[in-house]
């Protein structure tokens, strides 16, 4: 029992780390540009597929590094060509646009790589269990937790100590003032979008090692990411991080006692948060 519980808590932690990675990217874009990026799951899928295609040439580690950057580059292009036109308009339009993009990306990946699930090679020494008693602790899972922790830490360092990060945070609070102070906000939003998409791409490369690779891979991750943002509080990145891990772990624990409710429990948490504290756990008062 203890082992089962431990297994599911750990599993929940990993899934939660994915939710958090996705949700952080979504949150970055939402906070600075007011755009709900429906295509985030699509970018995640692109990340996975690009890694799949790159592995034969550059190996697993090369793909792990290169693929998210390529996805971020695609994201930057998309922002420049399409999403930029919609800033300052009703959020309805950017929602519809990213919605259409999500369709196109899903169909595009299916067209290029096929609809069936693809095999995915991770280095064999990573897929071995670390201990016989705790069989679920494969090297890959532990590696993922460490990597996600490192990336999130790096993200917060960037946001707190680099000029770009400070500008992003300032722009989140008051973009107009930031523009008046001489920051090119078009470039800022562009880079910020790329940063968010980078996180989606990275989540994609990591996720396929666990969930397999099919065109709809992002679909199962995007709703929990929304919930993570709502639970954690809109406008707060630490909140988003906490929200993602929280719903992952809670849904992991629920799996032990009531497997059928493992999805539903996330929505129950969201409802509870909205009733008790509509701004979310760490959200700011009066932002929305």
């Amino acid at each position: 029992m203890t082992q089962l519980l431990l297994f599911n808590v750990f599993n929940g932690l990993i899934i939660g780390a994915f939710y958090a990675l996705m949700a952080l990217g979504l949150s970055l874009i939402l906070n600075l540009s007011g755009v709900i990026n429906f295509a985030h799951g699509g970018f995640l899928a692109i990340g996975g597929y690009l890694a799949y295609s790159l592995i034969p040439y550059v190996g697993f580690w090369g793909a792990l590094i290169a693929s998210p950057f390529l996805v971020a580059f695609i994201g930057i292009l998309v922002e420049r060509v399409l999403i930029r036109r919609l800033y300052g308009r009703d959020p309805l339009y950017s929602l519809l646009l990213t919605f259409g993009l999500a369709f196109m990306i899903e169909d595009g990946t299916r067209y290029i790589w096929g609809a069936q699930s693809l095999p995915y090679q991770i280095p064999s020494w990573l897929s071995r269990p670390l201990s016989l008693q705790f069989f679920f602790l494969t090297g890959y899972r532990v590696f993922m937790v460490i990597l996600v922790t490192a990336v999130v830490a790096a993200l917060f360092v960037i946001l707190n100590y680099t000029r770009l990060g400070i500008r992003i945070r300032a722009g989140t609070l008051d973009l107009e003032t930031v523009a008046v102070l001489g920051v090119n906000t078009r470039v800022l939003r562009n880079l910020n979008f790329g940063l968010g998409i980078y996180l989606a791409g990275l989540a994609g490369v990591l996720a396929v090692g666990m969930l397999g690779l099919q065109p709809t891979i992002g679909d199962n991750l995007i709703m929990p990411s929304f919930i993570a943002i709502i639970v954690g509080g809109l406008g707060s990145l630490p909140g988003t991080l906490a929200g993602g891990i929280l719903i992952g772990v809670v849904s992991g624990i629920t799996t032990v006692f009531l497997p059928a409710a493992s999805e539903a429990v996330m929505y129950v948490m969201m409802a509870a948060v909205l009733i008790v504290r509509p701004r979310g756990l760490l959200g700011e008062e009066g932002r929305f």
Partner: protein, 315 residues
């Protein structure tokens, strides 16, 4: 201007009433007309909230699907009667909306949209996972709509597709009239005031959250009517009826036709469904084209067809 509007109404009704006769001549089929009317009702119901109250809901498929499931399950397991099934579906959808409403009406803008999306998915998961009741991914099949008995006459909506079309159109007409009536009432005017300037409406002493809740429930009520008709049309329902892409379809229909016009969503639904019908018969990759269509509408037709026409007329 007033004459124009009257003429538009007459034209719309004339086209709808004669549709089963000219659709086959135009190389189409009656069921497509039925589908257009049903989706138009859903999109108009959404537009009650989106265009007239100015609140962005992206989760209306949930209440559409609840209406559909309520009807299907009632007819299959409880009472094999079309009106009872419809009533059950409408009650299910509306009650669910009324319960969820208070949790989200305090939110605005993107935040509201996000919560409606997330709440919408709850019902998708329930329909997907409650296999013993809903059949999961396979949906609810092995049932069919029943002919309507009025005592003195029977309307065979089961076997005659024209009869079913007129049945759907009658319900559409009643719903459209009810929505038009509500929009002209003081309640409807209050909603417009909230859309135009929420802060000012609040200063005038209007209980804004309460009105948004009412508008939300009214909108979901009509969308669940559309849902019941949808499941009656197919004699089948599956979880795709309440998935988030369905919600997106309703929104794009409203935007494409023109959010600020009463008939806009009808025109949007007609264009969207005819296009979808054509593309999905031509190519496997219809999803890409629909996605591209979304992008093009947002970039080039944000005011919708009627918005453009009206603008041309005034300039």
């Amino acid at each position: 201007m007033k004459f124009d509007k009257r003429a538009g109404d007459v034209l719309v009704w004339a086209l709808l009433l004669t549709a089963p006769f000219w659709l086959p001549l135009a190389g189409s089929y009656v069921e497509l007309g039925t589908r257009v009317v049903i989706y138009a009702l859903a999109a108009m119901a959404l537009n009650f909230l989106l265009g007239y109250t100015g609140v962005l809901s992206f989760g209306h498929a949930a209440y559409f699907g609840l209406g559909a499931y309520g009807t299907a399950l009632t007819i299959k397991y409880l009472v094999p009667s079309t009106p009872v099934g419809m009533l059950a579906g409408i009650v299910l959808g509306t009650v669910a909306a009324a319960i969820i409403g208070p949790m989200i009406v305090r939110l605005r803008g993107v935040y509201f949209a996000m919560c409606t999306i997330a709440f919408g998915q709850v019902f998708y998961f329930i329909a997907f996972q409650w296999f013993s009741l809903t059949g999961g991914d396979d949906g609810v099949s092995a049932w069919h709509r029943e002919p309507l008995h009025f005592g003195f006459a029977t309307l065979d909506i089961l076997n005659s597709n024209k009869a079913f079309y007129y049945f759907v159109l009658a319900i559409f007409a009643i719903s459209a009239a009810a929505m038009a009536f509500l929009l002209r009432s003081p309640f409807g005017r209050t909603l417009l005031a909230i859309r135009e300037n929420e802060r000012r409406a609040r200063f005038l002493g209007i209980p804004v959250d309460q009105h948004i809740w009412m508008s939300w429930v009214v909108s979901c009520f009509f969308v669940s009517i559309a849902g019941t008709l949808f499941s009656l049309m197919n004699d089948f329902v599956d979880p795709r009826a309440l998935r988030w892409d369905q919600s997106g379809n309703f929104v794009i229909m409203a935007v494409l036709g023109g959010m600020r016009s009463f008939w806009g969503p009808l025109i949007g639904a007609a264009i969207f469904l005819v296009l979808q019908d054509y593309i999905s018969s031509e190519t496997q990759n219809w999803m890409s084209f629909i996605g591209l269509f979304f992008v093009l509408v947002v970039l080039f037709f944000p005011r919708g067809v009627l918005g453009i026409i009206r603008r041309k007329a005034t300039s």
